[in-house]
Structures are given as C-alpha cells and as structure tokens.
C-alpha cells in the first residue's frame, strides 16, 4: 500500500471502539499500512475511505488484458524501473500493422508469416501476438467487413484503429468478443469514443498529441468515467521523445504514484523509422525501455526473431536462472551402445544441446548434472562442474546400468576436467567433445563409444 499509517489514520472514524481487534484506530491504521490487517475488519469505515484506500492499494501500473484465447496478452503491471530489482512481469506485446486498403497478397503474406513465427526456446513459446487494423475508408461498413475478414484469417489479438467513433462501433460489434484494444480516444473524439470502451467492455488507448499533458487530460477524463483498462500513446513520433516519455511515464507511475500515467504504453515503431531495420531498433529500444506494446510495419523473421530473443532475455527472472531437472535424458531412443554426453542444468544449455542431438536423429543419452542453473563454463569456474563432481554424478545417476560401453563425452569448454574425471571414474574413456553445441551433429556422426 502506498499510504503511511498516519495518512490512513486520518481517514478512520477515530472512535477507538476496538471492534477491529486492534486497541485503537491508530494501531489498526498501522496494521493496515504494513499489510497485517484488512480494511473490512472495521465495520465503520466510510465509503469514501474505502474508495481512497482501494485506489491507493491498486498496483501503480494497471495490468491491461487484450485479446482472448491463445494470443491473449497482459501488458503493464510493472513494479520496478530496473530489471535487477525484480522481474519485469509482462513481456512487451509485438504486433504488426495492416491497413484496410492493403492488397490481398500483402495481407496474406503478413498473416502467413505471423503464423509461422513460433519458436520454442527454454520451454517458452516465443511469437508475436497482435495485429493492428487501421481503417483508411472512414466508412463503418467497410471497416467492419475488413475486420471480419482478418478475424476469419487469424486468432491474433487485435487493435482496432480509427478516430471515428461510428466506424469503431461498427467494428466492435463484430469483434467485441475478441476483446480488441480500441485505438483511440483523443482530445477531440473523447465524448463519443470513450463510452464505447464501457459499452463493449474493451480496453482503450488514450492518444495524445505529442505532449504528456494532453494524454494526462485524456486519461483523467477516462478515470472519471471509471474506464480503467487504458493504454497510453503519447503521440510522440520520434525515437528520442518517445524514449523520454516512456521513462517519465514509468517513473511518474512508480515513484510519484501518479494515477493518470499509471498505464502501459503502446509504441508505433512503424511510424518512427524509414526501414524495417531501423524499425527493429526502435522496437528493441521499447522492449527494454518500458513499452507495453510495439507495432511494426511488417513481420519478417530476420527482424522479429532478434526482438523475440531480446524480449525473452529482458523479461526473465534476474535472481534465479531457469533450470532443468538433473538426470538421464534419453534422446532418439538410445540403446546400450549409444553415446553418453554430459552437460549442466542451465535450461538454456540443456535446450540447446538436447535440441542439437534431437535434430541430428542420432540416439544418445544426455546426462544433466545439477549445477544450480549455471552454464558449463560458469559452473566450472564456480567449482560446480569439476572432474570430481561430474564423476560422482555419472557414477550415481545409474547410466552404468543402461549401457555396455564406458565412454563419456564432455563439453569442449570443459576440456580441463578430463584428467580429473578419468581418475574419478577409473577405467572410463573420457572424450572431449566439440565446444559449440552446433558441432555436436557432425561429431556424433563419426563418434563410436568404446
């Protein structure tokens, strides 16, 4: 909760009746502030107090849900400015623009690429999630038909874009069940556009004119109307201004607890660059710096893939590396003559190595040693992948019962442990494998355990 005990105390009845279980209202206020009590334990708080406290205890940045089903995303809900303080929660949504006057081949291409862009990495599915559909016709029937057409082609989450409330409403009638993001309420169209968010139960973008103050006015109006699922577009269309806005918004929300800016942002990279390459760098900037959603003009794998990797990196837990359960992993139905390889239990390493073995279709046993989630070299440097450690693990894990040979392949980067490992295992043949996992297929083609 953002308020101190004294601040809360001022809002309480101050009768010290004791019914809440605390001896005095002040004591109760202190308990509330430290999270040791719940407000409804006091039967006498006013509605006004309840409202103020509820607002104060709301997260500083609203979590906004967009879309339904597989491609639904949550944006916002962030609690810190720097990722080492605490995990960044909700990965930036990545989307692509389609305009209503775009030709079919172009639309088809974007939809196909969207569907193909699915990558599994460290057990996580990486892919873009959104299409932003921009009306160019200013005709309700036309935009409605266009939105319906796209809905028939993809389950992607949608952003509906038109400044005209009538056009928007026509599209919402067909798309409302998909919970699209309405783009946008402006200073001009607010009175007509904002009610649509309520009527159709959809989140909405507040779009400014390039000034923070304008967007603040718009969100304040929305808050007055009790519209809370809001995403901010400040209207900035150059990289540096947008960067400055995003930093200021994050800080205003977290440090100043300034409600009108306590919302995720949307960034139109497509409007801030003159090539897809430049756009990619704009998008990268706002994946790192506080973008809730970034929109690109196209989805080309050579541009989206680096962004997906970056997003995965930035939005991981900074405290604990992702780990894989240690043990014996049979890959491609190995038998008693199949090679045995050993690696660490850092998820990234495990997925890379097992992926290479799988892809080359050579049967093998992969031993995953507990290194507390450290990569091969890091673990070795930290004393968690020594010859002795690895040897003990190999003996204990039970691989000896599954194979007839006595060969073990170690990572090339761990070559230094081979002598010690040979000693520890006594009679085993320790083979130093390649350094990079990408060389494993070539290696397995010729390698015969003995």
């Amino acid at each position: 909760m953002g308020m101190t005990g004294i601040e809360i105390f001022k809002l309480l009845p101050k009768t010290n009746c004791g019914e809440c279980g605390a001896p005095t209202c002040l004591a109760f206020a202190m308990n509330l502030a430290s999270g040791k009590a719940e407000l409804d334990q006091c039967p006498y708080v006013s509605e006004e107090t309840k409202k103020i406290l509820a607002e104060q205890s709301a997260p500083p940045i609203r979590t906004v849900n967009i879309g339904t089903g597989d491609y639904a995303i949550e944006v916002g809900g962030e609690l810190v400015q720097f990722r080492h303080e605490k995990t960044f929660n909700n990965p930036t949504g990545i989307g692509c623009l389609i305009t209503s006057d775009e030709d079919d081949a172009s639309i088809q291409g974007k939809i196909e690429r969207f569907k193909a862009l699915q990558f599994e990495r460290v057990g996580v599915m990486m892919r873009p999630e959104l299409f932003a559909l921009l009306d160019k016709s200013n005709d309700p029937a036309n935009f409605k038909a266009f939105v319906e057409k796209i809905m028939g082609m993809t389950d992607a989450s949608l952003i509906l874009m038109s400044p005209n409330p009538q056009v928007m409403e026509a599209a919402l009638e067909v798309a409302k069940d998909r919970k699209p993001l309405i783009y946008a309420v402006t200073m001009k169209n607010g009175p007509k556009m904002a009610p649509l968010a309520k009527k159709y139960g959809c989140p909405v973008v507040a779009r400014g004119d390039g000034q923070l103050d304008t967007v603040i006015k718009i969100t304040q109006n929305l808050l007055k109307m009790e519209i809370k699922d809001v995403v901010i577009d400040t209207g900035a269309r150059d990289l540096k201004t947008q960067f400055t806005h995003n930093v200021m918004i994050r800080r205003a929300a977290l440090v100043d607890r300034f409600r009108p800016l306590g919302f995720p942002t949307i960034v139109f990279a497509n409007e801030m660059a003159s090539s897809l390459e430049e756009e990619t760098l704009v998008a990268a900037t706002f994946i790192a710096k506080y973008g809730g959603i970034v929109i690109l003009s196209d989805l080309q794998p050579h541009s989206v893939y680096p962004l997906l990797l970056q997003r995965l990196n930035i939005f991981t837990d900074p405290q604990r590396p992702m780990t894989t359960e240690p043990g014996i992993y049979p890959i491609n139905n190995p038998d008693e003559n199949s090679p045995v390889l050993v690696t660490c239990n850092f998820s990234l390493t495990y997925f890379i190595v097992s992926g290479e073995i799988e892809a080359c279709r050579q049967p093998a046993w992969l031993l995953v040693k507990d290194t507390e989630g450290l990569s091969v070299m890091t673990a070795w440097a930290a004393g968690k992948f020594s010859g002795e450690d690895v040897g003990m693990f190999v003996k204990k894990c039970g691989i000896g019962d599954k194979i007839k040979h006595k060969s073990i392949v170690i990572p090339g980067y761990a070559a230094a442990i081979s002598g010690e490992l040979e000693e520890e295992l006594g009679g085993w043949n320790v083979v130093v494998g390649p350094r990079e996992a990408s060389q494993i297929p070539k290696f397995l083609k010729v390698f015969k355990p003995e």
Binding site: F82, R83, H84, A116, F119, R121, L212, D213, I216, D238, L239, K240, F243, T244, V247, M248, R251, A252, V255, D256, F258, L261, E277, E278, T280, L281, A284, T285, A288, K289, Q300, P301, H302, S303, Y305, P306, L307, L309, Q310, L312, N313, I314, T316, P318, L348, I352, S375, A381, E436, A437, S438
Partner: protein, 315 residues
Amino acid sequence: MAFEPTKQKYTGAVRQVTLGVGDKAVTVGGRSCFPFYTFEGEMPNPPRVAMEVWDKNPGDEWPETAKEPFKDVLDDPVAWAKKCVEKYGAEIIALQTRSADPNADNKPAAEVAAVVKKVVDAVDVPVIVWGVANHEKDIEVMRLVAEQCSGKNLALAPVEEGDHKQIGAACMGYNHVVVASTPIDVNLAKQLNVLLGNLGVKDDKILIDPTTGALGYGLEYTYSVMERITQAALAQGDDKLANPIVNNLSIEVWKTKEANQTTEEAPELGDAKTRAVLMEAVTAVSYLLAGSDIVILRHPDTVKLVKDYIEKMMA
C-alpha cells in the same frame, strides 16, 4: 500547469577517458545521467562505434555474410583496418589478436606485436588491442605492444585480475588505457579498479569491460550488471565504478548458431545477413541503453544502423 515527474537525483558522473591522439582522438564518458536521460542530466560525449579487425584471416570462424564486405582485405589487417575507417566510418578500431591464441595458431608475441604496430601506424583513429584472455600470452604481447606503440594512447584489453599488474604497469609506463575486465559482477569490477588504482593507474586511464553476453546467450546478465554499475556510479556516488564501459559484443554475437546459419539452413529465420546484422544491432542497442560507451561491431551494415541510432538518441 504542466506535469513534471520526479527527477532522479544524481550524485556523480562518469569520468571522461580519451583514446588515441590527434584530431581523431575520441573522448567517451562524462555522462551525469542514466544513458540518454538527457532531460535531467548531461551527456557531453556520444557513445562510440568501434569496428572489429582480426590480425589473421578468420576463415571458418566467420560466416560468409560477415566476410563478404571484407573479402579483399581479410589477409591484410592493415588494409582491413583502413577500409573500416575510410569506407565504413569506424570511429575506433578494435584489433583482436586472435593469431596469438595458444590453443590455435600461437604466433610468437613479437610477430603479433609487429602486426599491431603496423595497424596502429596505418590509421588515425584510436585502437583498442584485444587479446586472447590467456594471461601469459597477453602479458607477453601487450608488453611489446605498449612499448612499440608508445605515445599512441591505445586501450589494451582484457586486463584481468590475474594479469593486471603486468599489463597495468605496461600501460602506465607508455601511457595507454587499461580495459579492466571482470566476469559480470559489480563487486569484482570495483575491486579490479581499486587494484589498478593501488598499482598507480590513473582513474581516467581505465575503461570497464563487464564481460559481454550475446543476444539470447546471457545478454540479460550483462545488461543488468551494466545498469547496476551505472547506478552505483551516478546515484550512489561510487567513484570506483564511474568509468566508461566497453562491450566487445560482435565476437559473441557472430559466434551464435543463429548468426551462422545460412538462409537455406534456417529459412524460418529469414534472410541470413539481415538476421545476423539485426542480432548484432539489437545487442548493441540493448547495451547502449544499459550504459555502454563503446560498442565493438563487425558488420558495416550494423555500424551504419547503430551510428544512426546513436545520433537520434543524442538529439
């Protein structure tokens, strides 16, 4: 009234470090705000782009997409470095002394140093000489380089705890800059700077190498340690961490599988060259946002993209 969010209070600034001599000398650092937060502090010097040159033909270690722009100069480090400066606008050359690697070519130190000197003499921009992270060999090579390139104000890297005395002394003796290298750890970074200080290396003769991970291969660790170094220096007044940061990133990015797969091998990842270039550029952008002062890059297309990017962010 216009809305004004709270301003971050800064108690320090990153100190300025100059590399090279003459007209093309480069000064980095001086920043008194988080990277590009120029609405609340100063950023007198833009981050700089260094281009990577190897002292030997990289052969199979580089994919064709990386070799293509340099195919006429790969066997000639001098011509290669000149091409980077004259054709591609390199502001600094990062010469990697790969031929010295004891686990590979293991070329004698004297020969390695002689090539370094030729490169240094051939270009007017500053040169970072990046060794092979083998203490004995780096000490041998860097001592010769420091002496033979005396007066050129080079930066010598990586200087680790295990060889800081020898390489640090050589830098002091011949007035070069030390690139203090530690494995992704704020405390170790600080400790090495303290050790270098005890040795007599001046504060404005130190760059920090936080150790660089590639996009998808540990980027997040380097990113966060850089943010922490920047915070310690600027917001917590930790003078011993207030040095500019250099990221030797191209060598990490171009080693990854995705940067090496051809378009035919990985059609699902799009055009091979653009993919690798954007992986390199996205890595660079991430590190610039985390506080990098010098990014070492390989492909001319990346260099152009990142230079344009820096210009826009400095606006």
